[in-house]
Symmetry: C2
Subunit: 432 residues, 2 copies
């Protein structure tokens, strides 16, 4: 099968079409396709995704060939090892991508769920039901797996999607998308329900960000600079994850061994994920602070502390002001000694990015106060902040972890890709 | 009591303070006050609002004096009758404002509601609980009642609020706010939980719109040009109501008398509200279209129709293309004759502002298809679109009707002023 030709022909900018005109054309087609998609049953949407997964497997040769072109071009441009690694596909990775699409097919469909119901004294029957958001724009870097993941989550929840991946991955993304579309079409999903912005022109990103009324929500997936640019320029609502400056506070009542284990896991299990701990707050009354710090230093973690933290272990370096606001994403940790729960919560309020913050405490009153008063998307008691993840939360998959305050917070999966409408059933009521 | 002096002294721009610095100072104080507010119980918040209502009544003389100053200045500036009327307070209107605050005190507090709960196989207990959004900015025109309404709704749901009203109402707003603050403080709510931006400098609005990270959400309350400006310039998320281009489609199966009554009510009960019908779609198969059109024309409604609608009654004027996209807010209606349900829904999809759209039909299959497929914030069957209102929906009050797609749609009351956080209760779990 050669899946590349059709798609490339369909979506190419026509002649001297501007990025705005291109985005408007694709978005208009996407919105029309979404109206068809919104009428499909749960079963049909799941079938369509299974067919898409099947076609991803069937198109292995085409996809890996397209990826080889991207890799060759990236090497010629002098891309570094980590970036090349994210771009590279092989048979195993592609099988993983297809499996993930199939898993999304198996998730429960949130569309149609009745959120609330009431009857008014005049007999009007009110209900609020979940519906898809509409057309979702995904802006991401050169990770071809995002193409399939994001498309699957959007489609499962009845949304059309407009994808704009990093230009280095364009051939890979085209091939992945063409395979998926071939599967989706077998199940009656219009091809325009999932489209790729096919130009390498960076102005297309700007056109997406300002396409209010055409694109309903933008989800940026990538590093801080990408997300910051999207947030600064967008006129379309953005569901974004910016920083994960996560704190763990060890209360006076904490079990020392639990505190040690949680601190090691929260910082060092994987240092590069957004839920990893970046600041450890040790209560002055916690008797085993030195052991926790020792365990982290012994495990190879670089520690930067205030003067009281430095007194706990000679390996603790002095922290600068900026350390309390830094997401290291590395084996580096800032450590402060705090005078009680209130001081810990003040530090969290001042420095947290409101992603995930945790307390280790045996005293339930302290734990419940922390849960009640710390205002982060995820607040944990006696658990590693590395659990901040859609799959670990039982959501099946996630489109991202939202650090904003509106619409959806924390791990966002299918429900976060829906909105609602009010249905009012009357029998001829006029308003007095 | 003279409530004006303290507040005026507190919030005035200090020396050559820029609008950005002023907004940042007020927002920082508001955020700190919100942390206190978030810890207050339901009962305390309700008490505080009742005390605020009491002080609004007690400060009648001060408030009406301040309002008289605004009125005199507005008259000197040559303000028109309708604008003066919106600005003017009297004892009856002020009593209504105080009553409304008391009613909000009686509404159930959404904060703390558990939205969902689950337990993971590893024993982690997850829950999602409602919390206040944080600091809400309200930007509105010269209607002093909005000052009290918006403040009450924000406070009831645990939010701090930064108010920026039209400059013509500045003295009235100051006096209303000072009275409310005096009541709130009696009940332990910090004064900075509800603040007015005290300058007439329009740059302060721009400073609010770009105060991302300081203001969590902006709610514009006012006409289209205000809302459009806010949406265009805001970096802070906006909960906005733009247009109400509401359709009523009369299906072939509609009861003729019901169709006539609903059409009259939907258009003419009050023409200036956002839920009033702006376009009537009559099915070619509906036998009583002429009677419905006649009833509207007899009632004094100007009708603008397509050629088939014009054939129904000589009083139907020809409609131009722009009529299908116009929110008249007046006794003017566009009328089209459509070929069946599908064509009606196509017209709605093309021209609706997705506020409220209705079908009149005796055939339940047609009604349910309309409910399922029309994608508006409110979709109605056999009822007047004028029911699109928070109080009519049983929400008690509304901060506005949202026509966007994210966070909250349709009438937005206390629940729409909340967000949620995830609570995770563990027993020492580390992530494998």
């Amino acid at each position: 099968m050669n899946v590349l030709t059709t798609l490339a022909a369909d979506n190419q900018p026509a002649g001297d079409e501007s990025p705005e005109a291109l985005v408007a054309r694709l978005a208009t087609a996407g919105r029309a396709a979404q109206r068809v998609l919104a009428r499909l049953t749960d079963v049909r949407k799941a079938e369509a995704l299974r067919a898409a997964a099947g076609m991803l497997r069937a198109a292995e040769r085409d996809i890996l060939e397209a990826n080889a072109q991207d890799i060759a071009a990236a090497e010629a441009k002098g891309l570094t090892g980590a970036m090349l690694d994210r771009l590279r596909l092989d048979a195993g990775r592609l099988a993983g991508i297809a499996d993930a699409v199939e898993q999304v097919a198996g998730l429960p469909d949130p569309v149609g769920e009745v959120i609330s119901k009431s009857e008014r004294p005049n007999g009007l029957q009110l209900s609020r039901v979940r519906i898809p958001i509409g057309l979702i724009g995904i802006i991401y870097e050169s990770r071809p797996n995002v193409t399939a993941d994001a498309a699957a989550l959007c489609l499962r929840s009845g949304n059309a999607v407009l994808l704009r991946g990093g230009s280095e991955a364009l051939q890979s993304n085209r091939a992945i998308l063409a395979a998926m579309v071939a599967g989706l079409e077998q199940a009656g999903v219009p091809a325009a329900a999932v489209q790729l912005v096919p130009t390498q022109d960076r102005a297309a990103v700007g056109a997406m960000l300002t396409a209010a009324g055409l694109i309903d929500m933008i989800v940026p997936r990538g590093g801080k600079s990408l997300v910051a640019r999207v947030q600064a320029d967008a006129r379309v609502p953005v569901l974004a994850h910016l920083d994960g400056i996560c704190h763990t506070y060890v209360h006076a009542s904490a079990d020392p061994e639990m505190a040690r284990r949680i601190a090691l896991n929260a910082k060092l299990r994987r240092t590069g994920i957004c839920g990893s701990m970046e600041t450890l707050l040790l209560d002055t009354q916690f008797p085993a602070s030195a052991q926790v710090v020792k365990a982290l230093a012994d495990a190879g973690c670089e520690l930067r502390g205030d003067s009281r933290a430095q007194a706990l272990d000679p390996r603790v370096l002095p922290a600068g002001d900026e350390d309390w606001d830094t997401e290291y994403l590395d084996a580096v940790l800032s450590v402060a000694v705090v005078d009680g729960l209130e001081a810990a919560m003040d530090h969290v309020a001042a420095h947290s990015s409101h992603h995930t913050d945790a307390i280790v405490a045996a005293d339930p009153a302290a734990a419940e106060r922390f849960l009640a008063e710390v205002d982060s998307a995820i607040v944990m008691v006696n658990a590693s902040s590395q659990f901040a993840d859609g799959a670990e939360f039982g959501l099946g998959a996630e489109i991202g972890i939202a650090t904003g305050r509106l619409h959806a917070r924390g791990p966002v999966a299918l429900e976060g890709l829906t909105t609602y409408k009010w249905l009012v059933r009357g029998t001829g009521q006029e308003r007095p």
